[in-house]
Symmetry: C2
Subunit: 300 residues, 2 copies
């Protein structure tokens, strides 16, 4: 049996300040038992997304150290950027990757939230699978009004009472912590410059307008090519191949075709296996049959 | 950069004698740096196939120890079984898996062959990528006449001069050692009991009758269902999805469809990625983007 592995993808309100980004990244790196997979900084958003994996114990420690570093090096009163945000550490999702149930990721999120609130005096809101109220499952709801708006209302608005921590915002702002399924960011390009086709297809496939339950989608024009841009929020329940085949059929309805697709960021192996299994009709294909999966032991 | 890993899949002429199988398996297992992935014994064939992976140095040592154990515990004069065979250790292919070129696997095969011949006095023939003569690339050519036939001819027939070792057969027989690409054993079932459709499709897709270069195929009736049974000998040059889509089209030509397919044994991750990439048209999909591939270090 392989060991428990959790992924954590904290988002920080810093990008232009390279020193702050480095300090936060190093705070994660220095914790034994975690491995930083990716750091992406966007200067327009003035925001950095860090991805790391580790054992549950190591991941919670690394997330805490990163939040503490962000509180030290980021001043939200001075922060400007295109992306909505509530705090220096804006959002911290935990994603169960290996040998872990969602319930364990939820426990992890809540334990981190309590520690951050008590030790750093940062208000914490729990979201998605860790949410304590239905209206807090959705990150956008919690983040409404952003840092500046929350500053006005946190002390008085009963809807803005944090799950942990004080009803007052310091310069580190508030942090949203939670647990969710792996998310696949996936774009499909059509062989047309007609963005309306991409917008119509997005409407057909996305949950919010009657489509698949775990699909968020919008239609864009990217470098002159119509693109259906998606977040697939639960690939086990709404698989990638089902979405792609539906886009293919809908595109044909408008006289268009898929010219290519692209992954943004990492993809769980199971999503790839599920697609190959479906198309090749290989009913016995599981991760157990993949040679490379037998090469490694339990080391991280 | 990850370390070099080679796979080795030796075939031994023992299955009914469980003690011999155990002794051979343990000879491999006791070498540090290798991991036994699979042991499959077929009593009808009276033959066992063992699969292990390791560093090049460890793999050559483990293969040598296994060949020595097989020579000790198997007497080819007494061996009976349905599968063609030349020796106690019948065939030993090395397959480059990670961070290794084919040329290195060939070097490994030849080094093992020399050691086996010199230390154990077993005649060794080199095959596939390690072959020294074109007529020895094909295992079937080398194995013609089997152990009993080779006994008659090894001393006199110039075509049967071994690559290493004496021109005389002991009770361990001869061993064929070589290097090859990963092989995918793959069966496709049709929704018909008409075996002639499977046979016709097999003829269309296999190399020997004009089909794809790296496909061996035959049509069978398996539990009342027509089956196209294949070995895909180079999935990078002749990919699985190309073969499946061709079978699909050919089956339709005869009014049939694919009902399912199955993998026999392990499959390299790259073969699965290539299929998902092709069907989903995800041009940027590489093994680098698979989350699990980032989890592990260089340990085996």
């Amino acid at each position: 049996m392989s060991r428990k592995i959790v992924e954590c993808i904290p988002n920080f309100s810093a990008a232009r300040d390279k020193r702050a980004v480095t300090k936060i990244r190093d705070a994660i790196r220095h914790v034994p038992g975690v491995r930083v997979l990716d750091v992406e900084s966007d200067d327009d958003h003035n925001r950095s997304v860090m991805t790391f994996v580790g054992t549950p114990e190591a991941a919670i420690e690394a997330a805490y150290q990163a939040i503490a570093a962000a509180a030290k090096y980021i001043d939200m009163d001075k922060h400007r950027g295109a992306h909505p945000r509530l705090g220096a550490t804006d959002v911290v999702p935990f994603v169960p990757i290996q040998n872990m149930e969602m319930a364990e990721a939820v426990t992890l999120a809540r334990a981190l939230g309590q520690r951050v609130a008590e030790t750093l005096q940062i208000p914490v809101y729990l979201y998605e699978e860790a949410a304590t109220r239905p209206d807090r499952r959705n990150l956008e709801n919690i983040r409404r009004g952003e840092y500046e708006g929350l500053q006005q209302r946190i002390a008085t608005d009963p809807d803005r009472v944090p799950d942990f921590g004080p009803r007052v915002l310091g310069k580190a702002g508030a942090t949203v912590i939670g647990a969710r399924n792996p998310l696949i960011a996936f774009n499909v390009y059509l062989n047309t410059d007609d963005v309306h086709i991409a917008k119509r297809i997005a409407r057909t496939i996305r949950y919010s307008s009657g489509g698949f339950r775990y699909v968020k989608a919008m239609g864009l024009l990217v470098e002159g090519q119509a693109q259906v841009s998606m977040n697939l929020t639960n690939f086990r329940k709404t698989p990638v191949h089902l979405v792609v085949e539906t886009i293919r059929r809908e595109a044909a309805r408008y006289g268009a075709m898929i010219s290519r697709s692209e992954l943004i960021g990492l993809v769980p192996q199971d999503a790839i296996l599920a697609a190959a299994k479906w198309y090749l009709q290989t009913d016995n294909l599981t991760s157990e049959l993949v040679l490379e999966n037998r090469l490694y032991g339990d080391e991280i």
